[in-house]
């Protein structure tokens, strides 16, 4: 069987949106795909050694909230200090209760399966990010490097 290729651009740095790139990549790798993820802008948060990601109910009408708060809780109050931390805590607990893997675990599984993780050099420079904050084994490169792989990929996703 010829190896298929999956290319992903990961652009988001919130707890909820951190999952799709790592779930899809680890699964694709298990199915025999060769996988590369290009992390750009806020997606670079997913490469930090210490993941400190949060989920926000603000401006997110589709997010189910505890006690059906998404149905009756005034939207403007989701901007209150502490709401984001509370929702993040609840989300993490829910994920653990339901046997959903932690991001650290999924990311490690991706690395074990030789998923190539590429950090956008431009973003690193733009936000004055420190490469020593990032995990080992990643590559720093630009858009052309992404296309080298994406151009021959079977599936290409922008997340």
């Amino acid at each position: 069987m010829e190896e298929k290729k999956l290319a992903i651009i990961a652009t988001k740095g919130s707890l909820d949106w951190a999952y799709p790139p790592f779930i899809l990549s680890s699964t694709a790798a298990a199915l025999g795909y060769e996988v590369e993820i290009f992390f750009t802008f806020y997606g670079l948060q997913l490469l930090k050694k210490k993941l400190d990601l949060e989920v926000t109910p603000l401006g997110n009408p589709g997010m189910p909230m505890p006690m059906a708060m998404d149905k009756w809780f005034p939207v403007i109050l989701t901007a209150l200090p502490g709401m984001q931390a509370m929702m993040t805590g609840m989300m993490k607990k829910k994920m653990a209760d339901k046997g959903v893997a932690s991001l650290e675990e999924l990311r490690e599984l991706c690395q074990e399966a030789d998923v190539k993780l590429i950090a956008c050099q431009m973003t690193v420079d733009l936000f004055d990010m420190n490469p020593s904050d990032f995990i080992d084994g990643i590559e720093y490169a630009g858009a052309a490097r992404f296309f080298e792989f994406a151009g021959e990929s079977d599936i290409c996703l922008y997340i």
């Binding site: 779930i23 680890s26 298990a30 025999g32 046997g99 599984l109």
Partner: protein, 76 residues
């Protein structure tokens, strides 16, 4: 249930962990050997079908018993 060489209990784990653990366990097995996987994630039924189809490992059996899902996969 037919004989198997190794068993993997993925109970309580959610997508995509049962598949990832199965893949890892199969990697340490010989061709022709059979892996018995136990899972509680209802999504794993379709997922193991798809896994077998795409990896060439044979899904010999898939059934629900006592609220759990059981799969037998023969390594290609």
């Amino acid at each position: 249930m037919a004989d198997f060489d190794q068993e993997l209990d993925a109970s309580g784990l959610n997508c995509p962990l049962p598949i990832l653990r199965a893949k890892k366990t199969l990697a340490g097995m010989e061709a022709g050997q059979v892996l018995h996987i136990i899972a509680t994630d209802p999504g794993s039924v379709k997922d193991f079908e798809a896994f077998a189809k795409q990896t060439g490992n044979e899904l010999m059996e898939s059934k629900e018993e006592g609220g759990k899902f059981h799969f037998l996969i023969k390594k290609a």
